[in-house]
């Protein structure tokens, strides 16, 4: 379109190219300009331009109006400020604003790749500016595996617009047509001779030019991409290897003091009374503060309790240990997770609310040659990013400034305003690096705690959650029970499938009394079941939350994929068929599935069904690919088994094959994992592979060990190892990842590897031992072995 018209890009002219009304940024009137004069010579001889000395561009020589009200205006810093995202400085530094939170998914690098590619920036000159929380950026909630999906197009447009303006600036300097100017790697060249002008030199002038409207910007074609889709090294890693870079816990403010909080053991419990006399005697302890009590709905409220403020974190922790607190246990003291699991299972075995319906599942079951049913259970899980929640707050009597490892600085800012009664315009929220997050740091309760304490203390306060706090007081992944029934015909083909899910919904955290699973959660792996049988019914049952429920990497997909993909393998077994072959048959012939056509209220992760269809061919492709990589069907040593699972989540398709080796005593090794993902267009395959490894192990760690339990409403786990994670010695020796080459729109990458991990593991254990495990965790925090006996039918 516009760039083609001005000759920047090759290729066929579009309709827009013939539209003579498009603006050309040439023929500006100029006050004065002296080419090559000694006054303006930069003194930089550019390589490849023998004898050529780049003149200094004097932006003030041009008579230019302000850029005006364009959606691309506004940014801080730099001379060229055409957009929210890009600032180019005189020395050529290209500052790219990242408005999403960096938590190890390499969003700094991927966002920069997208902008820099269209901008034709010199990668070595790119620097990242972390955005403040501000609605100007649009959505900043860094979860849902959607940073690329939401921003791919708009960041490309911003980069291309800036490139366009730099070319137009050069055209004005040279008094030539913009069509004769080509931008590449941070330099604009005059195609008529070999003169060049660097971006830094052009920045100020370019910044005063009008921003071209989006419909007049043409983007590079795929084969012209230099950064998108390439294995560009991380921008954060070199800093990390020196201990540089600032996480939430690393923030420092002059005069800062340190706080920790003793919180009520039960959610909505409260302090009846407390004695801080011993705490105040601890060297370094400065003061204590009673925190406001919380009441349902939890929202982002602090949980109450007593804060201890000290001159360092250690003193604050020692002071907290010395507090004497009598608690009122509140409304959740009756919560015992063992009893609750039984209740949920009973609910799952009763008829629930129908959420998707095809055919007549009851008739199908009644007519079946064989029937099977199974119940699955997945407990609460904690997020446990290695960096616990930490925030720093500073209050000057009018303005509040906060720093922290928040996934969403914008929501943090709004919640601070709501809960502290401060005008949002008087609040600044800085997102630091996040030492992992996994959904926990979408909830800024810890930043609100810090702000409350800072207001009381009158000094900057850093509030640290210890690991015990993080494990005991989380926004947990919901506990769930799943009930599955199937009917098979005489040939073993599934004719009828009923699936019931029961779990306390995330909505309970935000709306009092919400006990019913929401369509949003049901759409995470259940109402979008991609199986092809004549009769299918999905039902949901209510469950009441007794802890704060949040979202954890992959969310409801975890328990839905575990049950659906385990049950698929159970059907295969009853049918006497191979797991992989049977799975492909369940997926069925090539088609696109629309759950809404069968009564589901399906959101498709906010993507359109046209751009992001549920395509069975893509599911089948990753199944076949992962199976081929694993050499599915090969003969295995005794005690070994391969298991497979496939799942579409966050609009990406992942199939995982896991090999297990189970010793006669039930101890487990995982020799290898093979995974294929189709995530459409992938920005950085190297970093996507890292997510495949990390997301799979995250799922396996939860499946093997992860369990948060409650006794009388209080969480029983507190730190490693009662809350257990996989370690180096347990990591598979072989881990192969295939990333499907695709021109489809970008899908999620961070969460999709997690859901298939647990069912692939359980299916492998079944193939190795003949024991079907349906309750997570498989081993638990204190165990060493799987509950299997190898004498069972194989």
């Amino acid at each position: 379109m516009f760039l083609r018209e001005i000759g920047i890009l090759p290729g066929p002219a579009s309709d827009a190219a013939n539209d003579t009304s498009l603006p050309r940024f040439t023929n500006l009137s100029r006050r004065s300009f002296v080419t090559g004069s000694g006054l303006f010579v930069l003194g930089v001889t550019l390589t490849g331009c023998s004898g050529y000395v780049e003149p200094d561009v004097d932006a003030d020589a041009f008579d230019l109006p302000d850029a005006g009200d364009s959606p691309l205006t506004q940014v801080t810093g730099g001379d060229a400020t055409p957009s929210l995202w890009i600032a180019i400085e005189k020395d050529g530094t290209v500052k790219i604003t990242c408005h999403r939170s960096e938590m190890g998914q390499q969003v700094w690098t991927s966002m920069a790749q997208i902008v820099a590619d269209e901008l034709e920036a010199d990668w070595d000159k790119v620097e990242i500016v972390q955005a403040l929380g501000d609605p100007r950026y649009g959505d900043q909630n860094t979860d849902g595996s959607r940073s690329v999906r939401y921003n791919f197009h708009r960041l490309r447009v911003a980069g291309a617009a800036m490139r366009n303006m730099l070319e137009a600036a050069a055209a004005n300097v040279w008094e030539i047509d913009a069509a004769q100017c080509t931008a590449q790697e941070g330099v604009v060249s005059n195609t008529g001779n070999s003169d060049t002008l660097s971006y830094g030199n052009l920045a100020k002038l370019a910044g005063r030019l009008p921003v071209p409207p989006e419909d007049q910007i043409s983007l590079k074609t795929r084969d012209e991409w230099r950064f998108i889709g390439k294995e560009i090294p991380s921008l954060t890693v070199p800093l990390i290897t020196r201990g540089e870079g600032t996480y939430g816990i690393d923030v420092d403010r002059p005069g800062m003091v340190y706080a920790v909080i003793a919180r009520p053991p039960q959610v909505f419990g409260s302090v009846r009374n407390f004695d801080d006399s011993a705490a105040l005697k601890v060297p370094g302890v400065l003061q204590t503060m009673k925190m406001p009590d919380a009441a349902a709905p939890a929202l982002h409220q602090p949980l109450g309790g007593v804060a201890v403020v000290a001159s360092d974190t250690w003193a604050a922790i020692q002071g907290r240990n010395a507090l004497q607190i009598a608690w009122d246990r509140g409304p959740n003291a009756g919560y015992n997770s063992g009893a609750f699991a039984k209740q949920m299972k009973a609910t799952a075995n009763r008829k629930g609310a129908v959420k998707r319906k095809r055919g007549d599942v009851d008739a199908g079951l009644a007519d079946a040659a064989q029937r099977i049913e199974a119940d699955y259970y997945v407990p609460h899980l904690a997020h446990s990013p290695m960096e616990p929640p930490v925030a720093t707050a500073q209050w000057d009597g009018e303005k509040l400034e906060c720093w922290g490892c928040v996934q969403d600085p914008q929501t943090s800012r709004q919640s601070l305003a709501d809960l502290l009664g401060i005008e949002v315009d008087n609040i600044t929220v800085h997102a630091t690096w996040l030492g992992g997050a996994f959904g926990r740091k979408s909830k800024p309760d810890f930043m609100i705690e810090a702000a409350l304490i800072a207001k009381e203390v009158g000094k900057p306060v850093k509030l640290t959650w210890t690991r015990e706090d993080e494990v005991r007081h989380g926004y947990y992944h919901s506990v769930s029970a799943q009930h599955c029934e199937a009917g098979l015909d005489a040939q073993g083909n599934c004719t009828s499938y009923l699936h019931r899910t029961v779990f306390p919904p995330i909505a309970s955290t935000f709306v009092k009394g919400m006990d019913a699973p929401t369509d949003g959660e049901l759409g995470l792996g259940l109402t979008d079941i991609p199986f092809d049988m004549p009769n299918l019914q999905v039902e949901a049952g209510d469950a009441k939350a007794h802890v704060r429920i949040g979202w954890l990497r992959a969310v409801s997909n975890i328990y839905h994929a575990f049950s659906v993909q385990s049950f698929a393998a159970e059907m295969a077994h009853v049918a006497g068929r191979d797991q992989k072959d049977y799975l492909l048959e369940l997926i069925g012939e090539e088609r696109e599935i629309d759950p809404s056509a069968e009564g589901a209220n399906y959101a498709n992760y906010g993507g359109s069904m046209e751009e992001y269809p549920i395509a069975t061919a893509r599911l089948a492709h990753v199944v076949n690919k992962a199976a081929q990589m694993a050499d599915w069907g090969r003969s295995l040593p005794d005690g070994h088994g391969l298991g497979i699972a496939v799942h579409r989540s966050f609009l990406a398709y992942v199939a995982t094959v896991i090999e297990v080796a189970v010793a006669p005593d039930g101890s487990l090794r995982i020799p290898g994992i093979w995974l294929s993902i189709d995530a459409g267009t992938v920005i950085n395959p190297r970093h996507a592979r890292a997510q495949m490894e990390g997301g799979t192990i995250f799922g396996l760690s939860n499946a093997l060990y992860g369990e948060i339990t409650a006794k009388d409403g209080a969480i029983e786990q507190d730190n490693f190892p009662s809350w257990r994670l996989m370690r180096m010695e347990e990591a598979p020796r072989a881990f192969e990842v295939d990333i499907v080459e695709s021109n489809a729109a970008p899908a999620g990458v961070g969460e999709p590897p997690t859901p298939p991990a647990a069912p692939a593991l359980a299916n492998a254990i079944f193939n190795a031992t003949g024991t079907r495990l349906r309750t997570l965790p498989l081993i638990g925090a204190n165990g060493n072995t799987l509950p299997v006996s190898q004498s069972q039918d194989v």
Binding site: V237, I240, D250, D312, W314, G436, I697, A731
Partner: protein
């Protein structure tokens, strides 16, 4: 009751309560925040530093027991093993969030200083005390082997 600690070759006078773990002296008193807090109970390795070349958990090591020791942290650890580890970490983009990686790098550096060509078992033994919730274990194993072969 100032204590003098030698950290990354530099002597520093510390005024902290007796028994305060080295971790909090580094982080809160000296503002050397490269060393991380993960658990406080010697279960995660995020706080790993070297004391006289050995990896230790600074979260459970009282600073006032270290007066005559040479302490090295992620900000200052040098030598051929540290250089090879850093290079391999960058070449492989080992870190994800990076939070555990100060500890991982300190543990891996100590491993290579003592064992030129570590086996998988050596790596398991040296690195299993260092948790990584992002699960960079496979990358860490690759990078340690690469670093060893580049030394």
């Amino acid at each position: 009751m100032a204590v003098t600690l030698t950290i990354n070759g530099k002597a520093q006078a510390i005024e902290a309560a007796p028994g305060t773990p080295l971790l909090w002296v580094l982080r809160d008193h000296l503002k050397m925040t490269g060393t991380k807090f993960g658990c406080g109970v010697a279960q995660c390795g995020a706080c790993t530093v070297h004391v006289d070349g050995q990896p230790i958990r600074s979260c459970i090591t009282p600073h006032d027991t270290l007066e005559n020791a040479k302490i090295a942290t992620i900000e200052g650890v040098e030598g051929s093993a540290a250089a090879a580890i850093r290079e391999a970490w960058i070449a492989n983009d080992v870190p994800q969030c990076g939070y555990c990686q100060s500890g991982q790098i300190m543990a891996a550096t100590a491993l290579l200083e003592g064992t030129a060509n570590p086996s998988d078992k050596d790596i398991d033994d040296a690195m299993s005390g260092n948790l990584c919730r992002c699960a960079t274990y496979m990358s860490i194993r690759r990078a340690i082997k690469e670093a060893a072969s580049n030394m």
